[in-house]
Amino acid sequence: MSEDIQAKIKSEVEANPVVVYMKGTPMFPQCGFSAAVVGVFRELGVEFHAVDVLGEDGYRDGIKRFTNWPTIPQVFVGGQFIGGCDITREMYASGELQKMVEAAVAAKR
């Protein structure tokens, strides 16, 4: 049920330093924006947990409800929703993303 998805998302983003809700998989992204986000984390050499919202029932609407954000991909770092592709790229360019990711990975050790 939809409440199960909300709970599942909550535990996923708390358990993993970086989570990407995307269309497709990191190997086979189904959309350019999702591919771009994967590219950023690959460039950083950071492990991330990817969820294919197209592959899992109820996830596509569930994640949009969870964050009150209308589009995919959606990126969480250290349990915090940071935004979509535009924001991820902007934060990567400014160096802010690297700092956030380092802190999140360190917190999980």
Binding site: W69, T71, G83, G84, C85, D86
Partner: protein, 80 residues
């Protein structure tokens, strides 16, 4: 059904008082847009909140994917 860049600009400028919006159609298909929005109202807000302010003006269009993509750049007048 296509949207026009002017429609999007007008919705943003009336939805965020004092803002200026410049919108481009990225693909010519009337559903992939880029918007640069400058507003004092963004001051002190993180990127995710700024983007939410703009996305929040188009709930139906985004839900139905009449707007399929809306790439955002959000700045205050003082930011480069």
């Amino acid at each position: 059904m296509r949207m026009l860049t002017r429609e999007i600009e007008e919705r943003i400028e009336s939805g965020i008082p004092g803002s200026r919006a410049a919108v481009r159609d990225l693909t010519g298909t009337g559903d992939h847009f880029e918007a640069v929005v400058v507003a004092e109202a963004f001051a002190g807000r993180p990127l995710v909140a700024r983007h939410q302010m703009v996305y929040g003006l188009f709930p139906e269009e985004l839900r139905t994917e009449r707007i399929h993509a809306l790439k955002l750049t959000t700045r205050t007048p003082g930011e480069s």
